[in-house]
């Protein structure tokens, strides 16, 4: 915000007023809408989701959406994301994260933390002799027919 400081020194105006002025002068928001409708023919074929995928997703996300409205929404979301295929990515390496140009910092092998058992266990719902308590194993979800009835 260097330009702000310079302007502040030049004009004798309050800071909030100054912010409002500079935003209008160098705003990042375009003055006209740049939204373009994409023609259906340019997009790849619409994806149809089968029952297995729906059951799999329900189990992973623990969200009930296997009704007509839920599936329609999911397909619409995928259709919206299909627009990404319009971008030409030949010769461009996929990005992992914004940190990929940096290097991983390596720390020394010293003990610097730990020994805070009470802090760690403070949020636990149930504690037995300093152990966290969890329900047994991986409980398989009942099949759809079983919980619909």
């Amino acid at each position: 915000m260097n330009h702000l400081r310079r302007l502040f020194r030049i004009t004798q105006v309050d800071r909030p007023v100054l912010l409002a002025i500079t935003r209008r002068l160098s705003s990042k928001v375009p003055s006209e809408p740049t939204w373009k409708e994409v023609h259906e023919s340019k997009l790849p074929k619409p994806t149809k989701i089968d029952q297995d995928t729906i059951a799999h997703l329900e189990r992973l996300a623990l969200v009930d959406f296997a009704n007509k409205e839920g599936i329609r929404r999911l397909e619409a979301a995928i259709r919206f994301a299909d627009q990404m295929f319009l971008v030409d990515t030949t010769g461009v390496e996929p990005m992992d994260s914004v940190l990929e140009d940096r290097e991983l910092y390596l720390r020394d092998d010293k003990v610097t933390e730990g020994n805070c058992k009470d802090d760690i266990l403070r949020n636990a719902g149930k504690v037995v002799e300093d152990y966290f308590v969890a329900p047994p194993g991986n409980i398989p979800l009942p099949k759809k027919e079983e919980y619909d009835s």
Partner: protein, 542 residues
């Protein structure tokens, strides 16, 4: 330009002959047992085994957090907020773990990736608080290595090398360990201890190059020795610092590889062999009964010696691998690429290669060359971790004791005393110098070998007296004086005229019985060589 068909032929011949590796450059004798590489599987069934080994890196702190690594500490006392995956924490990589990974990869002849990436592997389990494990799936630390090891013939009392094998290492990667969960069946709950969560593991994945349990067990043993000699892992399978999962399949010879089953919960190298043998037999039975082998995970029940299927996994895990966004790529340097002024902060592969200690294979050969002991003794010394003890016993400055008798003392007598008292070598109360004193007295002739063994036993039980004191008080000094011995021999011969007669009639073996009687009379203190000579003299002379 070979055609593709020709290339396939060459490939098949290469793969078939790779297993019967002829190690002509090795100078030890191969076994000439009658049951030469006995087929353990019936008919024309062939087995294939691949191993996934998780080795816990011995470091002071964990892979991504600064909490301590210690076996058996009070529950949840070595847990930092990152290990408990509390929000607002970020992983920071530990340099020692990277160095340990690189060192192990160099020892396994791997190609080290200068740039490797971290990923998240998602699955739900109570001991994985974050819901994902940070591992390296796309670009692991090292790939394409190999490990050469020998399979020994355990059926004979003296170990001989049955065959030499080489297994390809697919990759070596760094990953996080999960916590420990204790299943409380009565109350229907799981108790979770996160002390182990976040500890650094090296995952070593091999190609399915091994054919049976014996090869796999030998490979695991060799890997344990390598890791212990590098000091990157203590290789203690019973404590869980090294875990082995086996992928086992069977197929008829010539056909494609069969469906594999994964076996977990294997607690020692011995059980590796048992689990694989059982699983192969089970799969053969299923296939011969016209069934199909399911691709599943089975648990090895070591008490029953069987593998048990876990039925509650209906689907295979969808791990949803994704790049770890909080960790940039890990860059490793060499001498040529190392940035100046930052040598301490980065990992330099060449520096690490220089620091590599002697590997077990090199140690075995060196012991044979330097000390002239037999190869099988060298194998036993390295296998039991006795090399330092042996070397200090032999190499005492100025003394230079006989290596062969040193091996005999260490491998036979010392181990026998330890075994009698159910002690491990780490709990041995006798230092190399103490054993050396006894050895010296026996070598000079002050006491006989059997007296030496008796004294060793006494020292094991806590006798702290000086050696000469023990010998004097018990009158165990070896009798070598010809006159005294002569008189005792005469005595014995007079008492047993029947044995003298037997000797005269041609039965030379009675000398041993007479020797036994002389030893009994002198409380095992008679010098065997002198006694036997005198006895024979007197028997001839009489």
């Amino acid at each position: 330009m070979a055609s593709s068909a020709q290339k396939l032929c060459v490939l098949r011949i290469f793969l078939n002959s790779r297993r019967s590796f002829c190690t002509c450059d090795r100078f030890y004798a191969k076994a000439k047992t009658k049951k030469q590489s006995a087929r353990t599987l019936p008919g024309d069934w062939e087995g294939r085994v691949g191993l996934e080994i998780h080795a816990q890196i011995s470091s002071n702190s964990k892979l991504f957090s600064g909490s301590q690594v210690q076996f058996s500490a009070p529950p949840n006392s070595l847990v930092s907020p990152l290990d408990a995956s509390l929000p607002g924490t970020l992983p920071v990589l530990n340099r020692r773990c990277v160095e340990a990974g690189v060192l192990t990869a160099l020892a396994l002849n791997c190609h080290i990736n200068r740039r490797s990436l971290f990923d998240r592997k998602h699955y739900f389990y109570a001991d994985l608080p974050a819901g994902y494990q940070i591992t390296q799936q796309r670009l692991p630390l090292a790939v394409n290595g190999h490990l050469t090891f020998d399979v020994y013939d355990e059926s004979r009392s003296q170990r001989q090398v049955l065959k030499s094998c080489q297994v390809r290492i697919k990759q070596l990667q760094l990953e996080q360990d999960s916590g420990k969960s204790l299943h409380d069946q009565e109350n229907g709950e799981v108790l979770v201890d996160l002390n182990r969560a976040g500890v650094a593991l090296m995952e070593i994945v091999t190609e399915p190059d091994m054919v049976d349990g014996a090869e796999a067990a030998a490979m695991v043993k060799e890997l344990q020795l390598i890791l212990q000699s590098l000091r990157t892992c203590d290789g203690n399978m019973s404590e869980g610092s090294m875990r082995v999962d086996a992928n086992i399949s069977v197929s008829r010879s010539g056909e494609e590889l069969g469906t594999r089953a994964e076996v977990k919960n294997i607690n020692s190298a011995k059980f590796v062999q048992k689990a694989i043998e059982y699983e192969m037999q089970r799969q053969i039975q299923v296939l011969e009964g016209a069934g199909e082998v399911e691709e599943e995970t089975r648990y090895f029940d070591w008490k029953a010696g069987k593998t048990i299927s876990l039925r509650d996994k209906e689907q295979r895990h969808d791990y949803r691998y994704m790049p770890e966004p909080n960790l940039p790529p890990l860059i490793l340097y060499t001498d040529t690429t190392s940035p100046r002024g930052m040598e301490d902060a980065v990992v330099n592969i060449d520096r690490i290669r220089e620091q590599m200690r002697e590997l077990p294979d090199a140690t075995r050969r060196r012991l044979v060359e330097e000390y002239g002991i037999q190869f099988q003794h060298s194998v036993a010394l390295v296998g039991e971790g006795l090399v330092e003890y042996f070397e200090s016993l032999v190499d005492v400055k100025g003394k230079g004791r006989d290596p062969r008798s040193a091996t005999s003392w260490v491998l036979t007598d010392l181990l026998e005393e330890l075994h009698k008292r159910s002690l491990t070598f780490l709990e041995c109360p006798i230092t190399a110098s103490k054993l050396g004193e006894i050895m010296d007295l026996v070598a000079v002739g002050t006491i006989s070998k059997s007296t030496g063994k008796k004294i060793l036993g006494l020292q094991f039980d806590g006798d702290n007296r000086h050696l000469s004191q023990i010998i004097e008080e018990n009158q165990w000094a070896q009798i070598r004086d010809e006159e005294t011995l002569g008189r005792i021999c005469e005595d014995i011969l007079e008492k047993h005229p029947e044995l003298v007669d037997a000797y005269r009639k041609g039965n030379k073996k009675v000398v041993n019985r007479l020797m036994g009687k002389v030893q009994k009379a002198t409380n095992k203190c008679a010098d065997p060589a002198v006694t036997s000579r005198l006895l024979k003299q007197k028997l001839e002379g009489h």
